[in-house]
Symmetry: D3
Subunit: 122 residues, 6 copies
C-alpha cells in the first residue's frame, strides 16, 4: 500500500543494501555475479531475458525485482505492448492475486522514458 | 510495516491502478469480468464466496486482496466471529508466517462498520 | 502425473504417516488437535469450514489436503455445484497453474458417493 | 519421484481431466479461452510467449505446465539452447529448490523431436 | 520499499496486533503458545532453533518474522557470521528473489547490539 | 501419493538428472558449486547447516531436497530428536499444509541408519 518509488530512489536504496550484503562475505558477490551472467546475451537476446526475469519476479511477488526488470526492459528497447503481453501471461498463469503487483508495475512504467504511455501528455 | 490504510484510501489507489491496467488491453478487462463472475450468487451464497476469496488472499499473502474481501464480507453481512473462524482455519493451515497479515486484517476490520468489535466505544 | 488414489488407499497411507509423526513428540499431537479444532462447528457451519479448508489446500498446492477436504465436504452434504463454484474462485484467484490440481480434484470427486456427477451411469 | 511421462501419456491424462472441468461449468471454459488468448501472437511472437509461460510454470512448481510449455516451445521452433538459458534464469531467480523440476524438464526434453540433445545417438 | 523499522517501533506494532488477535478467540492464544513451544530448548539449543525460524521466515517472505528471529538470534548470542551463513543458505536455496528481503535483514541487523558490524563506528 | 523411495533409488535418479543439467552449460555447474559452498563448515557447523537446508526444503515443498538434507543430517550425526524438533518449527511456521511432506520425511528417516527410530526392531 506504499507509494510507487521513483526509479532513482529505488536504485539508491538497492545499491546501499547490496553493499551491506557484499560486505557479508564473498558468497554474496559470487551469487550476484552468477545472477548477472544469466542475463548476458546468448541464444536469447537480452530483451527476451529481461522479460523472463520479469516473469520470475511477478511469480515470486518480488516488487523490487519487478521494478529492476521493468527498468532493464525499458533500456533494452522492449516496447510497452510487449511488457503488457508478458503481464497478461502472468495474470492468466497466476490469477487475480497478482493484480496488486501488476497495478504497481504499470504505475512504475509511467516513470520510465519508453515504457510509459504518456498518459499525462494530452 | 506500513500503516493499515483507511478503506477509502485503499479503494482510491486500487481504482486508479485498475484503470491503468484496463487501458493496457482488453485482456485485463476480460480477466476482471471473469474474476467478478466467480463471486456472483449461485449454489453458494455471496457471503460464503467472499470468505473463500478471503482464504485465497491470505494464502497468497495478498494484503490488498484481504482488505477487498473483508470489505465485501462486511457488506454481505458476514459476522465478525465468522471472519475470525475463517482466519483460524488460515492460521492452522498455513502457520505462524501468516500472523503479520492476520494482524493487519483484524486492524482493518476495526475500520469497517460491522466487522469491528467496537473496541473504542467504551 | 501419478494416478488419482482411491479414497481408501489415500486414507490408509495418511493414517500410517500421521502415526509416525505422533510418535515424534507430543508437539505433533497438539498441533493436530488445534488443526482439528479449527474445523469444529461454530459461527460457521462445518460444511463452509471444509470449503475454506479446500481453498487453503488448493492455494498451497497440497494434493493430499485437497482429497481430505473433498472427502469431508462429501460427508457434510456440500453439493457438487458448491464445490465446483469454490474451485472457480480458486482458479480465478490463483490462475492456470492450479489447473493440474483442479483436474485431480474433479477426478477424485468421481470416487465419492455424493460429489461425483455419476458420469459412468449412461 | 515418479517417472517422467511420455508426451503422449501426458497429453491423454490432461485432456481427460480438462473435459471433466469443462463439464463443471462454463466458467472453466471461459477461463481456458482467456488463458489460450494470452499466448496468441501479438507484439511478442508465440515462441517468446511460450518461454514466458515456461517461467511461470517453473516458478509455481507446476510440473504438468512445464511439460506443456516445453512441448509448445518444441513446436514453435525454440532451440534447445534458448530453453536452457531460460532455465538458467529460473535457477538464478528461484534457487536450488527448483533443481528437481529442472531435472525433470531436461529429461522430458529428450523425448521431444527438436529440444532433445540426441544423447542416445552416438 | 518502506524504511526498515527500529526494533522498538517494530515490537510495539506487533504487540498491538497480537492483542487484537488474542481477543479474537482462544484459538489464537493456543496457536501462539504452540508456536512458542517449538522454540523452547530441547535436543537443539535455542540459538539453532532461532536460526531455523529465520530460514522459515525468509522462505515465506515474512519481513516481520525475519525481524523477530534476528532479534532473538541477537539475544541468544548467535554471531553475525553465523547469521550471514544462514542467509547464504537461504540465497542459494531460494535464489535472487530473496535478495530484497536479505537487504532488509542486514539493514535491520545494524540496529541490533550484537549482530551489527558496527559500520558507523569508524 | 507415490511411495517413499529408497535412498539408493533416490540418489541414482538425482545423479542422472544432474548430469543432464551439467551438460546444459557451465552455468549449471557454477550454480551447483555455489550451492555446495553454502554448506561447507564455517561459523556454523555442517550439521546445523544441513538442518537449515532442511527448513528451506520443507518451506519450498521440495520433496527431493528434503530427502537430500535428511540423508546429509544422518551422515553428519544429527540426532532423530533434533530433526524432529526442526520439523516442529516447520509445522508451527508453515501450518498443516506441510503435514503430507512431514509424513514422507519421517517415513524416509526410517530407511536411514541413524535417523530411524528402529520401529520394526521389537
Amino acid at each position: 500500500m506504499t507509494a510507487t518509488p521513483s526509479p532513482e530512489a529505488f536504485r539508491e536504496a538497492k545499491t546501499q543494501g547490496n553493499e551491506r550484503l557484499r560486505k557479508g562475505g564473498s558468497f554474496f558477490e559470487s551469487f550476484f555475479a552468477l545472477d548477472t551472467a544469466a542475463y548476458e546475451p546468448g541464444a536469447l537476446p537480452v530483451s527476451v531475458k529481461e522479460l523472463l526475469g520479469l516473469m520470475v519476479s511477478v511469480m515470486k511477488d518480488c516488487e523490487e525485482c519487478v521494478y529492476h526488470h521493468l527498468k532493464r526492459c525499458d533500456e533494452e528497447g522492449v516496447s510497452r505492448n510487449q511488457v503488457l503481453e508478458a503481464l497478461q501471461i502472468a495474470l492468466a498463469g497466476a490469477g487475480s492475486v497478482t493484480v496488486p503487483l501488476l497495478r504497481r508495475a504499470v504505475t512504475f512504467m509511467e516513470k520510465l522514458p519508453n515504457l510509459g504511455e504518456g498518459e499525462h501528455e494530452a
